[in-house]
Amino acid sequence: MFKGLIGRKIGMTQIFDEDGLAIPVTIIEAGPCYVTQVRMPEKDGYSAVQLGFEETKPKRLTGGELGHLKRNELPPLRFLREFRAKSVQVTEGDVVKVDQFAIGDRVDVVGTSKGRGFQGGVRRYHFAGGPKTHGASDRERAPGSRSSGTTPGRVFKGSRGAGHMGNDRVTAQNLKVVLVDVERNLLGVRGAVPGARNGLVLVKEGRKQ
């Protein structure tokens, strides 16, 4: 079964369950998405569904994109994203909406985390820093040693240190669906979702079920 949607993060709030307990929810405006292409193992070597989201002006797209959408008589769409699927039950030109998810389902949400700029090791990797007292000067947020000495005589690639933080693709796994509003194309998941408000998010079927 293929399940997936492209959407935008609206923001967080809280709702109450039937016992009166407050649940933190992230609201995602998801879909409606068009199935723009279906990838088949015979033809493409793998099976996946390409979805398109958010109508836009034709002049914002390239001729190639417009031609790709025109194959199935689809409107100009701003975002095209592929979702891997084990079995595909949709055909090109279909519209998929939030009603494919039900309350209680587990989903994974992919987003782009907020950019934090160039950050030191203390903030980026929770390094402990140096001592705050005992005569320490300029060592409070120092990273310490990055590597061994003469052997190997260099810093291995991928070692943790200061650098650019955030603005990465992040997946929040196993979030529970607590709200489905087909009329307004809204999906509510328990807990936080990566990224800023209005950021593009992909909602997929949970992998950890």
């Binding site: 923001g11 709030t13 809280q14 709702i15 109450f16 016992d19 009166g20 407050a22 609201i27």
Partner: protein
Amino acid sequence: MNQETLKAIETPENPNIPDLLPGDAVSVHVKIKEGDRVRIQEFKGTVLYMHNAGSNSTFTVRRVASNGIGVERTFLRNSPRVDKVVVERHSQIRRARLYYLRTRTGKSARLKQKFN
């Protein structure tokens, strides 16, 4: 536009909770679930402070229980567990957060009533 979308999802305000002020003597009617029965328990006390934050707004009520032990309870304004709130009297107060009541007992813990 996003804020409006969120508003539409949040629980609507409880019409049985009037506007509260710190220092109000209130009686909070709380729904309590016992098995499959729901009964209502009253919690009487003074509003210590409000936390106004949209759908996450709360108010804290202080009550001096037996043996002079103070009990404070914080209620979510929009919670369906709060059945209703009755304001019994308003008080003359000069600050928004009446933390000083915690250190006081007996006569000095009283607040002057405000009539309007």
